[in-house]
Amino acid sequence: MSEWQPKILAILCNWCSYAGADLAGVSRMQYPPNIRVVRVPCSGRVDPLFIMKSLQSGFDGVLVSGCHPGDCHYISGNYVARRKFAVLKPLLEFIGIEPNRVQFSWISAGEGERFATVVTKITEDVRKLGPSTRLVKKL
């Protein structure tokens, strides 16, 4: 069997990061093929459960990306998202999920290059951590 590859869920805001991913693609930028993208209307839509559930179902990492502060299409969704993640993050660490497995970032529609950088970074971070074992269903 070939070498283990991390599987990372990327939850991207429709108005910025998702378009940023598009831009990275049409600009033919290189980034690791380890992400699976889910498009959401706003990073504020992301329920902490989505993240827990994806780790439980076998993803090794999760990236949530929304608009830069002040740029939210719905004015303040990303600020609220940040508050939700501030609650979730210590909870995840508490139950033994390494901080680097779940990352949040701001990427605008114009930042194709940044998108490639962020994806490369989280892929390398998660690769270093190895397969996720916490929260994965076990006895």
């Binding site: 902490p48 502060p69 940040r82 501030a86 210590p90 139950i95 949040f104 929260l135």
Partner: protein
């Protein structure tokens, strides 16, 4: 905790604090300053209490304003009355501080409309664990009488009562205080304009200064804060890492009683009771093949961690979840600890009634720098978008 300028009126308490509260309510109803009151009353079998909304003054004699145990969280009773709007009746509800705090959280969620309610609290000595009360009502009443005298919980009380720092006046309209006072008197203290108006209407003069009572409260609060600290340390050690969490919830039978007893979990359909939460059988079989075995049904830990993420910011640590657990998991100890941590993140205290919206309904532009790796603008605060 309170302004030293605050004053209260004295009620004669020949029949212990509960009797003084009852006399106060009778007077309020006689003078038509309240249309009805909500109080606990013993159920016919004598081993529990139920909330009764009463407008008949004669029913007051059978009510137990300060009940030994709390079978149904009072906020649930208030929600059932006012979830569609404030209504026309002026109602006085006498409840434990944690019940009033839960009602305040529900009002921020649009589930309780307190406009026409007068929320009254008392110095809560703690509540006897429900199971203990049901098993031995007479013995529990004795325990509770002792608790009431000392003003603090004993071994028969819920574990969270020992670590409760908000056991006295907390943003209620009126408060009945008896700690630190002689057994002959009960203080009635207004906590809002509504409360002041009621006392004025009843002709009760605010003549008594509150120093003795405040001293009693502060002393007890200091004790409780100490025990809170040490208990949280223990809980933290016990929960350490995923395995700690697993072992605490290992015997969970997935009945979701903790969720239905919780005053904050008002959602008509919880995600965890929905079809979406069900796992695909094929996925389970694959997982079992990979790992050699899995426990079924799945998602018992997910249910608890998910509930933590959803409601811990509004958790008032009332302990109903522990009382409801048929397999004696210390649910409330865990949730109380987690709630303390999450609410601290936003310097929020659940149940506060200062016009501050829920933490997830407001934000500041520059805050929580650790969450995203890049927070570029540090503008001034902006108000909530509500």
């Amino acid at each position: 905790m309170t302004d030293s300028e605050l004053k209260g009126a004295v009620l004669p308490a020949l029949k212990k604090p509960g009797g003084a509260v009852r006399d106060f309510l009778r007077l309020a109803m006689e003078k038509e300053l309240a249309d009805a009151v909500i109080l606990p009353m013993k159920v016919p079998s004598g081993d529990s209490f139920a909330w009764i909304l009463m407008n008949d003054i004669s029913l007051l004699d059978d009510a137990v304003p300060i009940a030994a145990t709390m079978p149904v969280q009072g906020a649930k009773a208030l929600r059932s009355l006012t979830r569609k709007g404030p209504g026309n009746l002026k109602i006085i509800a006498v409840m434990r501080p944690c019940e009033i705090r839960a009602a305040m959280e529900l009002s921020k969620l649009g589930q309780v409309h307190p406009e026409n309610l007068i929320l009254a609290t008392y110095d809560c000595p703690g509540a006897v664990q429900l199971q203990k009360y049901v098993d031995d009502p007479a013995g529990s009443e004795e325990y509770f009488a002792g608790m009431l005298q000392k003003g603090k919980p004993d071994d028969s009380a819920k574990p969270v009562c020992h670590t409760c720092e908000n056991f006295s006046m907390f943003d209620s309209d009126i408060h009945f205080g008896y700690l630190g006072l002689s057994e002959k008197e009960v203080l009635v203290i207004p906590g809002s304009e509504k409360g002041s108006a009621l006392l004025e209407g009843l002709g009760l003069d605010l003549t008594k200064d509150l120093q003795a009572w405040e001293k009693g409260i502060d002393q007890l609060k200091a004790d409780k804060l100490n025990s809170r600290k040490s208990t949280f340390e223990e809980t933290k050690a016990q929960l350490n890492g995923f395995n700690g969490l697993l072992s605490v919830f290992a015997n969970c039978i997935g009945c979701h009683n903790c969720q239905s007893a919780c005053p904050i979990c008002y959602c008509r359909l919880c995600y965890f009771d929905s079809e979406t939460a069900e796992q695909d059988p094929d996925a389970l079989i694959t997982a079992a093949e990979k790992r050699g075995g899995i426990s079924l049904p799945v998602d018992r830990i997910m249910f608890h961690t998910g509930r933590m993420a959803h409601m811990s910011l509004s958790c008032v640590s009332c302990g109903q979840c522990s009382d409801a657990c048929p397999v004696s998991i210390p649910v409330a100890d865990v949730f109380s600890y987690v709630a303390d941590q999450t609410q601290r993140t936003f310097e929020y205290t659940a149940g506060r009634n200062d016009g501050d919206p829920l933490p997830l309904r407001q934000f500041r532009k520059a805050e929580l720098p650790g969450v995203h790796e890049l927070v570029k603008d540090a503008d001034a605060e902006v108000p909530s978008h509500e």
